[in-house]
């Protein structure tokens, strides 16, 4: 009785020639400033155009001030505590509303993905809600809950939750059949299958849903703060409408810049998370790898 063909040593490695992997790593990446340069350039061009339009006299300067005036106003506002109170309140609302939307959207998404009955009942409703501008909910929300925090939260959650639920649903639907078969072979069923295979596989789509949900939450919140003014509660949105009422163009634009920057920061965070996720799975596109 002869025994095995190959000599055995557990760490005597190379079995195949293509062993050394194809990773491109940090070294290959362009320096950070090179990535930032086009952005800075575009911002610069925009500021110059803005200044030119302002100087052209198309509108009087008190209605359309140039960037230096607006940025000066922004700096002045930032030195006032009330600015930070407003920003803090708005961010708190955004974070709390978004967190609620994530919890509700995820639960609805998972339930809908798992139950055929629920899916046929509300699957298309979830998608339908997503296409509905959330501002449309405000009159009803104000009618039901009055001019208060609750009305704002209600609309923020309604604006964001469908996107989150849809992200879960799409992610689960797009899990390759091979993973389901693998789950069968490994003996993973029911919740175990979801926990170890389906949910991790659906994660990139979920993050896309979160990112879209955040965008909707932020828009709904701004609409809410413009429409629902709660006495004594200063927030970015109603600062904006006050500035309009007082004809304070520079202040108005300064707040717009703040709102834009918050949105961009959040978007950058979500994109970075999505990119990391894809990179870890070897799914990053060449463009992403270069970025």
């Amino acid at each position: 009785m002869t025994r095995p063909t190959t000599s055995r040593s557990d760490v005597a490695e190379p079995l195949d020639p293509a062993e050394e992997p194809l990773a491109d790593d940090a070294a290959a990446r362009p320096a950070r400033w090179r990535r930032a340069l086009p952005i800075l350039l575009a911002t610069g061009i925009f500021l110059v155009l803005w200044q030119v339009v302002s100087w052209s006299g198309w509108k009087p300067e008190y209605l359309l001030p140039g960037p230096t005036v607006v940025l000066g106003e922004l700096a002045r506002l930032a030195s006032e505590p009330s600015f930070w109170v407003a920003l803090g309140r708005t961010l708190t609302r955004a974070v709390v509303g978004f967190a609620l939307a994530v919890a509700i959207g995820t639960a609805i998404g998972l339930a809908t993905a798992r139950s055929r009955l629920l899916r046929s009942a509300i699957g298309s409703l979830v998608t339908g809600l997503q296409t509905m501008p959330s501002v449309v909910w405000f009159p009803l929300a104000i009618l039901l809950m009055g001019l208060g925090e609750q009305a704002i939260m209600f609309v923020v959650v309604l604006g964001a939750a469908p996107s989150v639920a849809n992200g879960v649903l799409t992610g689960v639907d797009q899990v390759p059949p091979a993973y389901h078969r693998l789950g069968d072979v490994l003996g993973a069923r029911g919740w175990t299958l979801y926990r170890h295979i389906i949910i991790p596989a659906a994660l990139p789509s979920y993050v896309a849903g979160l990112s879209q949900g955040w965008a909707f939450a932020w828009r709904s919140l701004m609409a809410g703060e413009l429409l629902v003014v709660i006495p004594g509660a200063i927030a970015l949105g109603n600062r904006l409408s006050f500035a309009q009422e007082f004809g304070d163009a520079a202040g108005l634009m300064a707040y717009m810049i703040v709102i834009l920057v918050v949105g961009m920061l959040a978007d950058t965070a979500f994109s970075a998370a999505a990119r990391r996720l894809r990179e870890r799975r070897g799914l990053a596109t060449p463009a992403e790898r270069r970025a």
Binding site: T6, L15, P17, E19, G187
Partner: protein, 261 residues
């Protein structure tokens, strides 16, 4: 008589009158018709046949992923299945993929890490435990898949063209590795392949399947002693014979019909 047999043979598989049909009425297709197959504990059986002869369907049934239309299937223990694509989970490292199989088998957390490393060592990936699937070559990925099969501690291992996507060089090395692991673990293997020489290289017995409906048309015990070399005279002769039979079987069907199923 083939010299090498697994140390502690286990497993075994018995198919009796197994058939599988898809669709209904006029469009019904019988992928597999009335198949009997016995695989002894520790035996290595290779199944060859043209496209559409039902060999993959047979494995799917034996793995319990689908139920047969008629007949019975009995496996002498747990069944594991290895696919052509490694289907490693891309968000887990090599070790993570193996550990998941251990976890689903009920191995306690404390033991998983060391055991996964040990299994990856057995397939010569001891230095690559932390690599992710996309950082590995096709051959390495199939070795992780093999370690994952070992982690399942199955008594019957079904392999559906596991080396189909690999180059010839890597294939040869995988033959040695699969044989070594099989001799060591002692499970039964049903190995489906397109490659006749590969079947002769690895198997105790080759089975040729024909199409419409899928059935066994020829069996051959391979009595060349191990270790075998694919290019050795007895292997080449057996492979030539099997190729001839496979050709005749394929020629029996009009090609268009043949690939339809």
């Amino acid at each position: 008589m083939s010299a090498a047999a697994p140390t502690a043979a286990r497993g075994g598989l018995r198919l009796r009158g197994v058939s599988k049909s898809f669709g209904r009425g006029d469009s019904q297709v019988t992928a597999l018709g009335d198949l009997d197959l016995d695989v002894a504990p520790g035996e290595f059986v290779a199944v060859v046949g043209g496209s559409g002869c039902g060999k993959s369907t047979m494995l799917t049934l034996a793995a319990g992923l689908e139920t047969p239309t008629t007949g019975s299937i009995d496996a002498g223990g747990k069944v594991a299945l290895m696919f052509q694509e490694s289907t490693l989970l891309p968000w887990l490292t090599a070790a993570g993929n193996v550990e998941l199989a251990l976890q689903l088998r009920g191995v306690p957390t404390a033991e998983r890490g060391a055991l996964a490393r040990q299994l990856l060592g057995r397939v010569r990936l001891g230095r690559h435990v932390d690599k992710r699937p996309h950082e590995m070559s096709g051959g390495m990925r199939q070795r992780v898949a093999l370690a994952r099969v070992l982690a399942q501690d199955a008594a019957v291992v079904l392999m559906d063209e596991p080396l189909g996507a690999l180059d010839a060089m890597t294939r040869d090395q995988m033959h040695d590795l699969i044989e070594e692991v099989w001799l060591d673990a002692g499970f039964s293997v049903v190995f489906v392949t397109h490659n006749v020489r590969e079947a002769v290289r690895l198997a105790d017995r080759t089975i040729l399947m024909g199409a419409r409906p899928g059935r066994i048309i020829h069996e051959q015990r391979i009595q060349v002693p191990r270790p075998r070399a694919m290019e050795s005279a007895p292997c080449v002769a057996l492979a030539a014979d099997l190729t001839q039979r496979l050709r005749e079987e394929v020629a029996r069907h009009d090609e268009a019909d043949y690939f339809e199923i």
